[in-house]
Symmetry: C2
Subunit: 336 residues, 2 copies
Amino acid sequence: MSPSPLLRVHWWLYLLLVLPFLAQAADPLPSWSDGPSRHAIMTFVGEVTSEGSKGFVPPAERIAVFDNDGTLWSEQPLYIQLAFAMDEVKRLAPQHPEWKEQQPFKAVLENDLKTLFESGMPGLLEVVSATHAGLDTDALLGNARAWLARAVHPRTHRPYTEMVYQPMLELLDYLRANGFKTYIVSGGDVVFMRAFAEEVYGIPPEQVIGTHYLSRFQDQGGRLSVLRTPQLAHNNDGPGKVESIELIIGRRPLFAFGNSDGDLQMLQWTAAGSGKRFAGLVHHTDAQRETAYDRDSSIGHLDKALDIAKADGWTVVDMAAEWRQVFPFSPTTSGQ
Amino acid sequence: MSPSPLLRVHWWLYLLLVLPFLAQAADPLPSWSDGPSRHAIMTFVGEVTSEGSKGFVPPAERIAVFDNDGTLWSEQPLYIQLAFAMDEVKRLAPQHPEWKEQQPFKAVLENDLKTLFESGMPGLLEVVSATHAGLDTDALLGNARAWLARAVHPRTHRPYTEMVYQPMLELLDYLRANGFKTYIVSGGDVVFMRAFAEEVYGIPPEQVIGTHYLSRFQDQGGRLSVLRTPQLAHNNDGPGKVESIELIIGRRPLFAFGNSDGDLQMLQWTAAGSGKRFAGLVHHTDAQRETAYDRDSSIGHLDKALDIAKADGWTVVDMAAEWRQVFPFSPTTSGQ
C-alpha cells in the first residue's frame, strides 16, 4: 500500500513550503540573530527547566531580574523618567513662580540641559523629588500615565512606551513561558515604572522594584491615601539593587540582565549563587539603529561591569550584531 | 441489556457509602463550621471569581493579605519570634558576659518575663535587634530554621510550626485555588517569617512582608552577603502595613485578615477599595482550645478594630463557635 509517486511528491512539497513557517512561528526569540547570546540564553533555560537533569531548578526558584533603563527600554538621549520630571516641572511652574529664578528648575524651564546636568546628582534629584514626592501614590500614578499618553521621544517621535527593545520583550515572554517570574529591579522610581510595566512588559506592580521615598499612611477624614514624603528612602542602584532583592524577593535570582555599572552588584550577586546562573549585559553598540555608548557615557555608564563580564564569561549582547530588530516599530534586518 | 437486580443494588450501596466522603473531600473549608464567617468568605470568593458577573475581579487583582501572629499562628503566651529572640540571647550569652548585669538581657537570662515586659517596646526591641540584626540574612535564616527545628511551644510541647490555625491553612489553600495571590503582611521580622512561611503556609519568600532592618550589601574579598545593620528601617505594624503594601505590592488588596488593632489600617485600606472587598478579624474567643483575649490583652490587643469591624460589617470570626478544629494536631469538634 505504498502511496502513488504523485502523492509522495505532494507530501514533500507540502513540507518544503510549510516547515520554514512552522519553524519561525515556534521560534521564541525571532528578533535575536543566531549568535552567542541567543545560544547562551536558550542553553541556560533548557538546562534549568529539564526535569530530571542535574541543572534542573524548580519553578518557584526561577526568579529573573531586569534593569529597566537601557536594558528594557531606551535611556538616550535622556532617562525617560527625567524627561517626565522636566515636563512636570513645566506643567507645575505656574504654581511655583520661584522656579523661574531658582536652579536647577530655571535650567529645566529654559530647556538648558547643560546647566541642569552640571547641577549633578543633587540637582537632578531635586527635579525628580519636586515631581515624584509630596503627593500621594495614586496622584503620581495618574500624572505618569497622563504624561506617557501624550509625550513622545525627541528622536523617533514615538510614545515612550514604544521605545522598548523588541528582543527583550521576547526574552521576557520566553522566560515566563518557561516558568520564570520576571522582575524589574531598576534605579527608576517604583511608582513611575508601575504606570506602564504591566501593560508594556506584562510585569505586574508587585514585580516592580525601584527607588522610592519614605511613605506615610494618611487618613484625612476617612479619605485614605499613602503620601510620598520628600525624604528619599532607598536609592535602588548599584548595591541598593541587591539590598532590595534580598528584602523584597528574599531569594537569589537565577537570571539577571543589566546594561551598566549600576547593575554590577546585582549581576555579581546572581552569578555567585549555587548551581548554574545567568548574568547578561545589553551592550549598546548600534550607533545606526539606536545609540552606541558604554565607557564614556554618563547615562548608562558601562565600564567595570563590562570588564568583569568578559573576565567571568557573562553574556554580553552585541546589539548591532545580535539584535535583528531594536524597537517593535523598527524594521527587521536579515541578521546573521 | 439492563443490569441484574444484584448489580443495581451494589451500585446504590456504593453511592451510599462513597458519596458522603466525596462531599467532604470537596469541601474546601472543612474546619469551618457552617456559620456566618464561612458563609461570608465563600459568598465573597464566589462573587469575585464568577466570570461575567458584576463583581468579577481578574486574577491579577486578587491580592489577599494576612497578618501572621494571632491570625495564622499562635501568639500566646508569647509572640513566637520573641521566644526565638529570648532563646537566642541564651545561646549567645557566653559571647556577651555583660548581658548578665545588663537589662533587658539579664531578665531574659533569668526567665524574668515580668521585668522584660516592664522594659516596654524599647526593651523588647533591644532583645530582638541583638538577635535579628548585626548579621547577614543567610545567617539569620539559618539560626531561625535551627531554632524552629528544636524549640517547642510551652503549653502544647509541639514544634512552633504546628501552632498554626488549621482553618486558616484551609482558607489560604482555598483562596489560592481561586486564583488569589496570598501574602503575609506582619509586624514580624521578614527574614524570621521566611524561615517557615513557604513550608508551613505555602507562601513563598517574595510574598512575605514584615519588619526589617536597614541592610547593606557586602563584598568581603569576593564573599558577597547582605548585612542587617542594627538600624530599624521599617516597623511593619499599624499604618506601616499599608505603607509596605503600597510600596511592595503596589496594588490594593481585595481580601485582608487580621486579629488586632495593629491590623486596623490594613483592613480599612482594603475595605475602602472600589467594588466588593473582604475584611476579616480572627476573634480569640476560645479559652478552652486556645486562649480568650481581645480588649485587655497587650499581645494581640483588639479593641478599636473590633468596634469598627462591627460597625462596618466586616467578618469577625468567633473562634469558639466557628472553628471545628484549631490546630492541625488538635481534635475536630462536631461544629454546628
